[in-house]
């Protein structure tokens, strides 16, 4: 199968695994940053095939999971208003806000639509000039450029009834926050390939040097993951800590200059709250002043929202790699994809969802406190 089977070839996988097994001499803890990588790892059982000394820690790179509850509640509030068409990617519809989700807003009469591209939302705005059309702009550096492009186009085409509810976040500040944590035990990073395809690798050498941690740009198919692990482990065993691109078919060192220019034009860097983690300085984007009129938070008065996080949810620790999903007391009991306490259990890229969906056979909830290992 062109472009898919090649990167799932069992013989090549076996060779990479043999290499990793023969290289490892002591325990290493690696973090895969992206939730898409987490799902590949769990779905294909890659963690079962790696040497016991190689532990994969699941990172905060699930855009749905880290969108703050307050922003989701704002989305629910805006989507409930008459005259609004609220557009979103599909996987945001089931994410719990305080007391409800977008599916329930829709079932109560809200006009909530799933789109496959933010430009679809812009087209809906053109077709419905008497309605306000809002697109839920969430995600990392991967989804930010097309969302920025939508706002750019709205301004260029003079479409006044379109706005963006922005909750975009950036990976490098998250890596920095993780490494600065006193409980951090990450020794190497598999960086998110799609993010680097936009941003390039220029932001990483300083981080690798400052925290003496190898950062290997890694793709999303099983062989990509194994190659990323192989290169990271090889560096660790040699005592090195450089930035290495193991995803050259998608990532150029300079990234995508056009996409970066679009980001710089439409957005500006700001502090952002991450659901379950808290505010990380300079970790997000908001619309720059010249595009402020397209900011849904400015257009709709949605201040004063009272959020209510379930106390039992430990998503934040899962997102920081402090806790494996099944080590949470609520995993599989109070918290399931049917009754998710947090977004990590409901998102298609969430670590808790991956463990619940694919790993229930060999996991039983193991109540215990997170054990920080520095």
């Amino acid at each position: 199968m062109k472009y898919i089977d090649e990167f799932q070839d069992p013989d090549l996988a076996r060779r990479l695994l043999d290499d990793i097994h023969s290289t490892v001499t002591r325990p290493w803890a690696l973090m895969e940053v992206c939730g898409g990588q987490t799902h590949t790892i769990i779905r294909h059982g890659i963690d079962q095939l790696l040497p016991d000394q190689v532990e994969l820690i699941h990172g905060p790179g699930c855009p749905v999971c880290v969108t703050p509850l307050e922003v989701i509640d704002k989305a629910l509030e805006i989507a409930s208003r008459p005259g609004v068409i609220f557009c979103s990617f599909g996987d945001m519809l089931r994410v719990p806000g305080t007391g409800r989700d977008l599916f329930q807003v829709r079932s109560a009469g809200g006009d909530v639509r799933v789109v496959y591209s933010p430009l679809d939302a812009l087209r809906i705005a053109q077709q419905n000039p008497d309605r306000e059309v809002v697109f839920f702009g969430i995600g990392f550096e991967t989804t930010a450029p097309p969302n920025a492009m939508t706002v750019y186009q709205a301004r260029k085409l003079g479409i006044p009834n379109f706005s963006l509810l922005v909750s975009h976040v950036r990976v490098p500040p998250a890596i920095e926050a993780i490494m600065q944590s006193p409980t951090c035990r990450v020794q190497g990073f598999l960086a998110a390939g799609h993010v680097c395809s936009v941003m390039g690798v220029g932001e990483y050498p300083e981080l690798a040097e400052r925290f003496r941690v190898p950062i290997v740009v890694t793709g999303f198919e099983p062989l990509d993951i194994l190659e990323g692990v192989r290169r990271t482990v090889a560096q660790l065993e040699r005592g090195e800590h450089t930035v290495d691109n193991a995803y050259p078919r998608a990532v150029r060192p300079e990234g995508n200059p056009a996409a970066r220019a679009m980001l710089e034009d439409v957005f500006e860097v700001t502090d952002r709250a991450w659901r379950g983690i808290g505010v990380i300085p300079d970790s997000g984007w908001r619309l720059s002043p010249k595009y402020r009129e397209y900011d849904a938070e400015h257009r709709f008065s949605v201040d004063g929202i009272q959020t209510r996080e379930p106390a039992a949810c430990r998503s934040g620790e899962v997102l920081q790699g402090l806790l494996k999903p099944h080590e949470c007391e609520a995993f599989g009991t109070l918290c399931t994809p049917r009754t998710p306490l947090g977004a990590t259990m409901v998102s298609s890229e969430g670590a808790c969802a991956a463990y619940y969906l694919y790993r229930r056979l060999d996991l039983t909830p193991a109540p215990r406190e997170a054990t920080p290992v520095v």
Binding site: H44, F89, D91, T98, G99, S181, P310, S348
Partner: protein
Amino acid sequence: MSETIGTTELRTPVLDPAAWTCPAPLRDQPRIVMGHGGGGALSAELVQHVFAPAFGGDVLAQLGDAAALSLGGVRMAFSTDSFVVRPLFFPGGSIGDLAVNGTVNDLAMSGARAAYLSCGFILEEGVEMETVARVAEAFGAAARTAGVEVATGDTKVVEAGHGDGIFINTAGIGLIPAGVDLRPQRVVPGDVVLVSGAIGVHGVAIMSVREGLEFGVEIESDCAALGGLVDAMLAVTPDLHVLRDPTRGGLAAALNEIAAASGTGVVIRERDVPVPPAVANACAVLGLDPMYVANEGKLVAFVPREHADAVLDAMRAHPLGTESRIIGEAVDAHPGMVVARTGLGGTRVVDLPIGEQLPRIC
């Protein structure tokens, strides 16, 4: 007590079920959501907790795709289904084909050849007469192909804005041959699991036209009536244990329903599950799993091991089963659960979907 990460303060996690309120009350929902019609866990809950208790009855309690009845000493199958597909016409078929084949196939999964169909059209004010005529023609042609007679019907019109062009309900009856007893409770460890061909085709075909997505090659729905294929299988042995057409919820839902109802475990080998490249690529783009995508002309069979090869040969000899494959078996281990052996050698659970699959963000 709290700890910090970088500049971030963490909440101290406290497990207090008394204070816990589910943030996404998918259970006990006050209103119907789309997932209640998705063929997954929400659909099952709606039937089990709302409809079945209200209606009662031993026959309904079987909860099969078709009810197996005994009337005047004759064993027959009786089934009904409603069709609300959008768009009305899609590559490889239309709502008319679906409305016939869906009910014919539900009957076929109990071993019965459909004999008579009913046909209820719910039309929306303003829909073009030509559209209705095209759907009716497709309906009639599909019935003739399936060898079933449309015996009775009904038409209703709803006001503009209260429908989606055309909705169709069909019901069908057919006779169950002597010696045939198809139900999940007959599945035993050691049974071999077969599928009659490529999966995920119908769902991706519908998505491609509904959402205006193009995947390089046009994907046509596999919509077809499976009565003839089932006849060919039963001709090898009437002792098939269970058949299921994996429509909404896909192969994963069908296997989970069988595992749950039979109390056996099911193991499938992921690389043996036939997924056409175009379907795999479309699913990869959208972040969907082909195992959860709907089919309309495929079946999954649990067959005693001693008959498996002969049944497979018979399936492959039929035009609708040329790509039939053995994909796994029923096992003693993990009762009620479906597990896949991954291509790389790991294992994973294949769960019942909750509602409908949602395309991911990136």
